[in-house]
Amino acid sequence: MKKNRTQPIDTNCLSALAGFFLKTKFNTTFCVSLFLLGLVLSGCSNVWNNPYPASDAGKNILYNAFAERPKHLDPVQSYSSNEILFTAQIYQPPLQYHFLKRPLALVPQTASKMPLVSYFDNNGIQLLPGSTDTHIAYSVYEITINPGILYQPHPAFAQDEHKHLLYHTLTPQDIQAIQTISDFKHTGTRELIADDFIYQIKRLAHPRLHSPIFGLMADYIVGLNEYADVLRNQDKTQPENSFLDLRKFPLDGVERVDNYTYRIRIKGKYPQFIYWLTMAFFAPVPWEADHFFSQPGMAEKNFTLDWYPVGTGPYMLTENNPNRIMVLERNPNFRGEYYPDEGMPEDMENDLLRDAGKPLPFIDKIVFSREKESIPYWNKFLQGYYDASSIGSDSFDQAVQITGQGEATITEEMKAQGIRLGTAVAPSTYYMGFNMLDPVVGGRTPEEKASARKLRQAISIAVDYEEFLSIFANGRGIAAQGPIPPGIEGHHEGSEGMNPIVYEWHHGEAQRKPIKQAQTLLAEAGYPGGISRKTGKPLVLYYDVTARSADDKSILDWMRMQFRKLNIQLVVRSTDYNRFQDKIRKGNAQIFEWGWNADYPDPENFLFLLYGPQRKVGNSGENAANYDNAEYNRLFEQMKNMEHGPQRVQIIDRMITILRKDAPWLWGYHPKDFALYHSWYQNVKPNRMAYNTLKYYRIDPKLRDRKRYEWNTPVIWPIGTGIVLLAVVLLPAWITYRRKEQRRVLQKQTA
């Protein structure tokens, strides 16, 4: 209906354009060329600037962008968010996060129910529920998967009439003629079984793969370390890059119970292990795919499991050109998953339960275009060519306005386009750390340590993160009261969650203590007025940062100003990221900035960042501040294995109190994600932990097409104006030329 209405207008515009030029008789050939150019530009579509093929108009396609090309799509290796964005749609681990419930809740994905966890002592005797943790030697996770789940169609499963795998004995010559995976004529599928999960767990120890969690998992999964040695030795005996058949080598820590059930054995108790079961590291990988891609000649054509994932998820990767475009299409074999029918009370108001109970996914195809620069990305979003966008600093004022109450709302301009704003506090923290091994900010003797603590507390008060967020982040974040961000157990709102070292509760809100209190603390620390009582010299501190652009100069100036409130001189030591990391590893930094994105929504994933045995120096852990407090360490060990509940929260509260007093970090802030969505993009609920959410989203392609046409009608007058302008400029020159030539002829004739 819409197409019929718009098409004639488009043609008329072009005809009018051509007519205008032809009437002027300026240059017929040029005008005809321009007219043809217009046709090329428009293709068969209604607008000229549509970056997608005209044939895609009206189709149920989601348009997305990615800035950085993914390095790995092998589920055993991919860990960055730009990689998981793809793997999470293709691979299905046993569990997932509930799409709507908050705080985040785990629900089965390929599993038929939540894993059964049982505990055993050293003698292999199963412990009764309620047994003390000290008796637990092993935990066993028994996972049962749903029968009938099928893999995506793939040549690795294709079989001939004798049920033999068709493409598993290829020669390099056979592969030479193949350009993409779709060039294989036949595809097949098979049912997902427990062995595929076991195969993937074994792949964590594969000698030719670099799983980022191997080191971590080797500490927990029984026998994984030894298994890596076995595989390494076996790999040495085989031809280079040949198929290493993991099925032949048993791993102690995993056990197949039946076709649909398997068990994972964990050393001791590790309740956080259940969160890892939502990640692609524990998604099934069929041995057929591994073998298929291991054939000689495959890697030379860039055919690897790292680039052509094979999964059971709602989507499959059908085009993989990470330089330009990556396309996910609906997996025709995917079925059995439905939109959740319960959520939070506000979900009903936000129309997030309209599709309750309907089969997933809703979108047929997802096109990810590579957009390295933010300006074209933003402009294409405004033109309707991307369905959602984040908000960069340079476009923030155009998109968002802050009300008098400090609330972020969408601007009138965006509202007129039907764009809506979604915000969510990220499960992340950005902090300024003190190196506790440093004699000035960490201290060595008990007296020095007490003095350094007061110094850190004074700086904690002086550095005003509320001001930082307001000036440099457009208010996109909340000043942190401790290491745990909102939405995670142990975080408290209101006066209960306030850091009493830095804030006071006034008029129903936390207010930063006056700078006088910081100055008093500084004097108590031995630096009255910022002058060392011992040496009589001004206190100079060193702030290590990664190399900054000119734009960041104002941030560093602001930071110097914060320290100047206490008359402390802050020297910024800027270096490249490699050297910065090196300094942190060796403990050579004094004050530094760092951040952490949670792996899973458990306080343990934040509190371990300050656990003594996790020190960077000496232990190569994640504790960059090298903080080591015996009581905190003891409480952490007690807390990490506890089940969620008030008792655990009590211990966490105690740990937070210790941290606030010791102030090994300036707690910094928890960033807030702002995203914009067009009116045709529905069922969106931000969730920074789960990446497999594209299956829940819905698009209204008709509305999108209508809006795109409204917003992108070609403006052709500048072409005409440009040509007229050129003619006006060149006409006198042309006349001069003619006169010159005529004069020459006349001179000739006279001569």
Partner: protein
């Protein structure tokens, strides 16, 4: 001439070795193999063992230039430099750190680069020379005066501004072409129009002024006076005589860049989303992928040398007095 070309190609070998050595040294002054491993393994949960394993897998576990523990010639050959360099001289660029074949990537990415660079080069040459000749034709008139002012204005503006302004005006405001992206086959044309227009305009100022200077030098030569005395029209004098005689300096600047057109533009490709070799190089530098960086630098040097040889050959075609011996 053949002897000359062969000799020049042999001269290229020490140059390429030198360039390779300098690239290697510069790269490893800034990045150690440990840094590269950490960059690729990510920042979370990276153990020393994982770093060691990565280095071993990618051949970065050896000494950089000199192996003290080896004996004889192996002291030089059992090093990262030798092992990573020798294969390049037989055009085996190996694999990028993400596992993808570099030769395959170069083969597929050079065409989008060429699709922009070649039209920009040809149209630009045509436009700049024509514009310069027009200014010379109307020298000392308002056309020349305002033409030079326009050139200086165009020269004074950063190329990034042209890109942003072009995207804003032509793509965003007037909706005439896609702001960025790339298509297959003929569909690519509509994506190329804007970068080509921007490419031509952004270099117009400097190039036109350069060609204008060349032509002005020629315009007062005796042969020009003779041509005019013979009664030839001014446009024939300019386009047939002056242009031909100004060919040597034009070729010096133009032919040398022809082979380099394959390498693409770093900023243009990033802003317009063109999947060419320019953006490939930028990505490699950002991700500290030494394998790709050294392959691209090697290729750049090789093509530059080829460009210089081609320039020499073109002199003989443009001016029969030039002999290559």
């Amino acid at each position: 001439m053949l002897n000359y070309i062969i000799r020049r190609l042999f001269y290229a070998i020490p140059i390429l070795v030198g360039v390779n050595l300098i690239t290697f040294s510069l790269f490893f002054v800034v990045n150690t193999p440990d840094d590269m491993a950490r960059m690729h393994l990510g920042t979370k949960h990276v153990t020393e063992e994982a770093v060691w394993k990565w280095k071993q897998e990618h051949g970065y576990n050896k000494p950089l230039l000199y192996n003290e523990t080896a004996h004889g010639i192996k002291q030089l050959t059992d090093t990262i430099f030798f092992e990573k360099s020798v294969s390049m001289f037989v055009f085996d660029f190996g694999r990028a750190d993400d596992g993808r074949d570099i030769t395959h990537e170069i083969q597929s990415r050079m065409w989008p680069s060429l699709a922009i660079a070649l039209p920009v080069f040809l149209l630009g040459l045509l436009f700049y020379i024509t514009f310069a000749l027009i200014m010379v034709f109307f020298r000392a008139t308002y056309v020349d005066f305002w033409g030079v002012i326009l050139c200086v204005m165009l020269m004074s503006i950063s190329s990034l501004f042209y890109i942003i302004a072009g995207q804003f005006l032509i793509g965003k405001l007037w909706h005439l072409v896609p702001i960025s992206g790339f298509g297959n086959g003929l569909d690519a044309i509509r994506f190329l129009l804007l970068p080509i227009i921007v490419g031509v305009i952004s270099s117009a100022g400097a190039n036109t002024r350069w060609y204008r200077t060349l032509f002005l030098e020629e315009i007062n030569r005796e042969y020009v006076r003779t041509a005019r005395a013979k009664g030839l029209s001014e446009n024939i004098v300019l386009f047939r005589h002056v242009l031909k005689n100004a060919m040597i300096p034009i070729l010096t600047g133009a032919v040398v860049v022809i082979p380099l057109l394959f390498l693409g533009g770093l900023i243009t490709e990033s802003f317009f989303g063109i999947p060419g070799l320019g953006s490939y190089t930028i990505d490699a530098i950002q991700s500290q992928d030494f394998a790709v960086v050294r392959a691209m630098v090697f290729l750049g040097s090789l093509l530059y040398i080829a460009g210089l040889v081609l320039t020499d050959i073109s002199y003989t075609l443009a001016d029969p007095r030039v002999r290559l011996e």
